[in-house]
C-alpha cells in the first residue's frame, strides 16, 4: 500500500472516529501530548487499524512510537511486510 494512502486512511480515522482536531495533524505531532490520544483511545485505534489494515497492533511494538510520522511508518512496515 502506498504511504500516501496510509496517511490518508490514518488521518481520516483520527479526525472522523477519534475526533482529533484536524489542525493538530502533522508529521511531528505527538500522539499523546499534541493529539490528546489516551490509553482508552488507543484501544479504539487498535480496533480501527484491524478493520482498515487487517492486522492487530501489538502494544509492545507501539512503545517507541511517539509521533504521527512514526505511526505511519509502523503501519507501512506491517502492511507491506
Amino acid at each position: 500500500m502506498e504511504k500516501s494512502k496510509i496517511r490518508e486512511i490514518v488521518n481520516n480515522f483520527l479526525i472522523e472516529e477519534i475526533e482529533v482536531d484536524p489542525k493538530g495533524i502533522s508529521d511531528e505531532a505527538l500522539l499523546k501530548d499534541d493529539l490528546g490520544i489516551d490509553s482508552l483511545d488507543f484501544v479504539d485505534i487498535v480496533v480501527i487499524v484491524e478493520q482498515h489494515f487487517g492486522f492487530k497492533i501489538k502494544p509492545e511494538e507501539m512503545s517507541g512510537i511517539r509521533t504521527l510520522s512514526q505511526f505511519y511508518d509502523y503501519i507501512e512496515n506491517k502492511v507491506n511486510a
Partner: protein, 405 residues
C-alpha cells in the same frame, strides 16, 4: 426533620420527550406503543414495545463521553440534562456544590452481547473496543452521568428490577433527610433494543395483541393478555426543602413518604401482603391516613397476577375511600427499571395540572379490579396527596407519597 422536595424533572419516553409533550399525552390518553419488526426477526413472541428513537448526541457530548454511553445512558443523559435545566442548576453550580446521583438501572444488554460476539469471531478482547466495559456494567448510567456532570456526591446505581426508579427516589430522600446530601439526581433508565427484552419475552409475559398495538397494554382489564415492554429515562432532582427555598427553586412537590418491603415468596409473582406493607409504610412515613390520598398511580403492568394482587392490596387499604386509581402503563407500556421514576413524573404533572390521566384500555373489570375506583378516561381533579406504587421481580416493593406544598 429535614424535608425533601422535587425541584426539577426531565423525561425521554415513548409518550413524549419533553415535559410539555408528556403532560399533553397523559391528558389526552395517548399510547406510545407500536411494533418493532426487528423483534420478530430475532425470534420474539411479541414485537410490541414502546416506540422511541435514540437521541442524536454527536456535537453534544465528546467522543469519549458518547462511546461509553449505552442506549439507556443516552436517554438518561437527555432526561438529566433537561431536569437540571428545569431545576435551574447551572454548570457553575455543579462545579461549586456537592450533588449526588442515585439512578435506577438493571441491565445493559447490547454491549455485553456484542462484545461476546466480537470475541467469538476475533478471539481477541482488545477488539471489543474501549467503550464496551463502561457500557456493559449495571452501573453504566451513574458512572457516565457522574462523569459528564462532574458530580461529587453519592454515586451509585439502584438495581431493584421494576421498582429501581422508585427506590432511587426513596433512598435519595432518606439520605437528604439524614443530612448527608442536599441535592441528588434520581431516576431510572430502561433500554429498548432488540437484545434487551428477549429473555423476558421468552417467559410469554408480553401481550400479543399485535393487530391493535394501542390496545395491547390494558392494566386491570379483564381482556388483557400480558404487558408491553417499553423504556426511556426519567430524572428527578430532589433537594432539601430549605436549600431549595434559599436558591429560589420552583418546587413541584414534597416527597413525604417512602415505604419498602420484600415479599420473600416467589421470583416472578408479586403478593398482596408485601405490596400492602410498602403502601402502609409509605403512609406512616408521610403521616397521612388513606382517606387523605387523592390519587394512586398503580404499578399494574397488564398481567393477570400482578394486577390482581395489587388491586387486592389497594382495596385492603383504600377500599372504603374509593380512592381514584390509574395505571399509566396503559399508555406507556411497562417502562421497567425506569417506571418507578417516570410514574412519579406523570403523577407530578397530574398534580400540577389538576387532572387524572386515564388507565387506558380499562373496559371490563375483573373480580379484583371491580373493587377499585379505576379512572378510565381523563378527569379534572385538584390533588394534594398522591401515592405511586412500584413492584419488581424478586418481590421488591416501593411506594412513594408526594404532597403538594
Amino acid at each position: 426533620m429535614r424535608r425533601v422536595v422535587i425541584t426539577g424533572i426531565g423525561i425521554y419516553s415513548c409518550i413524549g420527550k419533553s415535559i410539555q409533550e408528556v403532560s399533553e399525552a397523559l391528558y389526552h390518553g395517548k399510547s406510545g406503543i407500536g411494533i418493532d419488526p426487528a423483534r420478530t426477526l430475532y425470534g420474539y413472541r411479541s414485537p410490541l414495545t414502546g416506540i422511541l428513537e435514540p437521541p442524536q448526541l454527536k456535537n453534544v457530548l465528546t467522543r469519549r463521553q458518547r462511546i461509553c454511553l449505552p442506549e439507556e445512558g443516552e436517554y438518561a443523559y437527555v432526561a438529566t440534562d433537561d431536569a437540571l435545566k428545569d431545576a435551574g442548576i447551572s454548570d457553575e453550580y455543579l462545579d461549586k456544590n456537592e450533588v449526588g446521583i442515585l439512578y435506577g438501572n438493571d441491565s445493559s444488554s447490547r454491549a455485553v452481547i456484542e462484545s461476546h460476539e466480537i470475541c467469538v469471531e476475533k478471539k481477541d478482547t482488545t477488539l471489543m473496543g474501549s467503550g464496551a466495559i463502561f457500557q456493559s456494567m449495571n452501573s453504566t448510567v451513574t458512572m457516565n452521568l457522574a462523569t459528564i456532570f462532574r458530580l461529587k456526591g453519592i454515586n451509585m446505581t439502584i438495581s431493584a428490577a421494576c421498582s429501581s426508579g422508585s427506590h432511587s427516589i426513596g433512598l435519595g430522600t432518606l439520605l437528604i433527610r439524614q443530612g448527608l446530601q442536599d441535592m441528588i439526581i434520581c431516576g431510572g433508565a430502561q433500554e429498548t433494543n432488540v437484545l434487551s427484552m428477549a429473555s423476558f419475552d421468552g417467559l410469554g409475559a408480553f401481550s400479543i395483541r399485535i393487530a391493535e398495538p394501542h390496545k395491547a397494554s390494558r392494566p386491570f382489564d379483564a381482556g388483557r393478555d400480558g404487558l408491553v415492554p417499553s423504556g426511556g429515562a426519567a430524572t428527578l432532582i430532589i433537594e432539601e426543602y430549605e436549600h431549595a427555598v434559599k436558591r429560589g427553586a420552583r418546587i413541584y412537590a414534597e416527597v413525604t413518604g417512602y415505604g419498602f418491603s420484600s415479599n420473600g415468596v416467589h421470583i416472578s409473582q408479586p403478593c398482596e401482603k408485601g405490596s400492602a406493607l410498602a403502601m402502609e409504610r409509605a403512609l406512616k412515613d408521610a403521616g397521612v391516613n388513606p382517606a387523605e390520598v387523592d390519587y394512586i398511580n398503580a404499578h399494574a403492568t397488564s398481567t393477570v397476577i400482578g394486577d390482581t394482587y395489587e388491586a387486592m392490596a389497594i382495596d385492603r387499604i383504600f377500599g372504603p375511600y374509593r380512592t381514584p386509581v390509574s395505571s399509566t402503563k396503559g399508555m406507556t407500556g411497562h417502562e421497567c427499571w425506569m417506571a418507578g421514576s417516570s410514574e412519579i413524573i406523570y403523577t407530578l404533572l397530574m398534580m400540577r395540572d389538576s387532572f387524572i390521566a386515564p388507565n387506558l384500555n380499562f373496559e371490563t373489570p375483573d373480580e379484583a379490579s371491580a373493587k377499585l375506583n379505576i379512572i378510565s378516561s381523563t378527569i379534572e381533579k385538584k390533588m394534594d396527596i398522591c401515592l405511586s406504587n412500584s413492584f419488581g421481580f424478586g418481590g421488591t416493593n416501593s411506594a412513594l407519597i408526594l404532597k403538594k406544598i
